[in-house]
């Protein structure tokens, strides 16, 4: 092979290696996989799984909120369970607030009314490091079929979980 041809081939070989190396390093395919996904109506139609049992971290504890039924009929009284795990690595004593609020639904309105407090409970709990405790609250409040109801953890509305009410409609 002639010198110019060999030289050109070698240069092209170096160029090819450089190109693949550059693409491997800088390609946007290295970005967050979620960002890679193309956005189409079909993709958006796929409902991604969501959190089954609402939970939140607060003051070194993981709080998981549970209610005793998937849905309620009007007149039933929800029972709320709070599972508290001490994730802080040390013993803790904390007061936990749970409340239930309702928004009255006026048939012709754009949205439900402002929330009003229906019930609230509070309990002090001491937990060793890594310990998990479950506390139960009997709300004693009979649900109505014209009120949108939610359970909340914390005075600062840390977590809200809607209550599903079965209606005749």
């Amino acid at each position: 092979m002639s010198f110019p041809a060999r030289n050109t081939l070698a240069t092209l070989g170096i160029a090819a290696v450089s190109m693949f190396a550059t693409l491997a390093l800088l390609s946007p395919r290295h970005a967050d996989a979620e960002d890679e996904e193309v956005k189409t109506a079909e993709n958006l139609r796929v409902i991604k799984p969501y959190i089954g049992e609402p939970s939140v971290e607060q003051d070194g504890c993981k709080l998981t909120l549970k209610i005793d039924k998937e849905s309620y009929a009007a007149g039933e009284k929800p029972v709320v369970t709070l599972e508290i795990s001490n994730t802080s690595g040390k013993a803790l004593t904390r007061t936990f607030d749970v409340s239930m609020s309702g928004r009255n639904v006026e048939a012709m309105s754009r949205m439900p009314a402002m929330p009003r407090l229906l019930w609230e409970g509070s309990r002090e709990v001491t937990l060793a490091a890594g310990e998990t405790k479950t506390i139960t609250f009997e709300t004693g409040f009979a649900l109505k079929d014209n009120e949108s109801v939610a359970i909340r953890i914390g005075k600062e509305e840390l977590l809200e979980r809607p209550i599903r009410i079965r209606t005749e409609n």
Binding site: A10, I14, S27, P28, E36, M111, E160
Partner: protein
């Protein structure tokens, strides 16, 4: 034959240079470029920029007393745009059309087989087409506030699918997130999102604010500002994007200063007018958050009611940008002449032609014009 003694000095830099250049040229074709071509759904449509070409309203005869006048005022002033009217029966459409009378816009009935309310705004978000596609994508929420105990609202949840089934170039999808359409205000660059949306999703659909922001940015294709303090209401009740990185925010303080105490007390708002410090602070907090996001903030008089729901708000408006002009279809209210005039002056100062829409009949039910009208497509 042996290599030229200096050939290595040229071969390596030249080869590397050629390789890097080729990679940079190829990258758009292999990376983002191919994805952009494949993506057919773009960003959330702006509330202020672009020419409106199609609108959606809902109508039920039992809401006639609430919506008929706002619809008439609005529809009669609209230019030649297409307005899809969701109804349960064709005669409902004819009833509304007869009341509204002659219009330049064209009204087109769309009969649905599920319950509806007359409040179309919260049902879905309209995302632009992308990558050469023509279809607008309507994204509906996983669920609506109060739908379990509100049959018509439960039916409203199906509005996006009904539109997609009936109209060409409209797709529908359902998000895994809980939201109302009214939870968003956007200028096509930034989406401002109410704290209610955060409250309804944190711990249920997302683990953290950061995850919620990321998911919304992905869905909306915009920068997202999660308002951490605001009124417990839809965003369009207390703020509006007006273009040119400017946001209008309600100002009860100005309204208070415009009125005598007797006039303020006479305002027909449920629970009386609320000029409390806590409420003023909540409006100010919205203004501060918009300013922190890099927006020019302009304030506009607003009178909130003590029930936290009925507002004399001039922000719940429909904005159009057409032939180089900006137009706002802005609510007005009987018994609030001085506030109406002052608010119109603010809109005019931002370069808007103001077309008033009397919303006296609807504000008592917690919403005004924007709550009743959804923009399906902007050019």
């Amino acid at each position: 034959m042996t290599d030229h003694p200096h050939s290595n000095l040229i071969r390596w830099p030249l080869g590397v240079l050629l390789g890097v250049a080729a990679a940079l040229l190829a990258m758009p074709l292999l990376g983002n470029g191919s994805q952009a071509k494949a993506s057919t759904v773009g960003a959330l449509q702006s509330d202020c920029d672009g020419t409106i070409s199609e609108l959606v309203i809902h109508y039920t005869p039992d809401s006639f007393a609430i919506v008929s006048v706002p619809y008439r005022d609005f529809l009669r002033q609209l230019p030649a745009v297409k307005v899809h009217v969701l109804v349960r029966r064709l005669e409902d459409f004819e009833h509304l059309k007869a009341f509204v009378g002659d219009t330049t816009c064209s009204l087109s009935p769309l009969v649905v087989n599920h319950g509806i309310t007359s409040w179309s705004r919260d049902r879905w978000l309209a995302l632009h087409p992308a990558g050469g596609a023509r279809a607008v994508t309507l994204v509906a929420p996983q669920g609506e506030l109060g739908a379990d105990v509100w049959p018509a609202r439960k039916g409203d949840e199906r509005a996006a699918e009904s539109l997609a089934a009936a109209l060409v170039d409209v797709n529908a999808a359902r998000s895994e997130l809980y939201f109302d359409g009214g939870d968003f205000v956007t200028d096509g660059e930034t989406a401002f999102v109410t704290p209610n949306l955060r409250r309804r999703n944190l711990g249920l659909t997302v683990h953290s604010d950061a995850e919620l922001k990321r998911r919304l940015e992905r869905l909306l294709g915009l920068k997202v500002v999660l308002l951490d303090t605001a009124l417990d209401h839809h965003a369009g009740m207390y703020m509006m994007a007006t273009g040119n990185r400017t946001v209008l925010v309600g100002d009860p303080r100005t309204a208070r200063d415009l009125l005598t105490p007797v006039e303020a007390a006479a305002l027909p708002l449920k629970g009386g007018v609320d000029f409390s410090e806590a409420t003023l602070d909540a409006f100010d907090a919205v203004a501060e958050q918009c300013a922190r996001a890099g927006y020019r903030v302009v304030r506009i008089p607003q009178a909130p009611g003590g029930d936290g729901r009925t507002y004399f708000t001039y922000l719940n408006a429909i904005l159009d940008q057409r032939e180089g002009r900006r137009v706002v279809y802005a609510p007005t209210f009987d018994g609030a002449g001085r506030l109406n005039a002052a608010a119109a002056d603010v809109w005019k100062s931002l370069g808007y032609e103001v077309r008033p829409v009397n919303c006296t009949s609807s504000y008592r039910h917690f919403g005004s014009l924007r709550c009743l009208v959804s923009v399906l497509r902007r050019g």
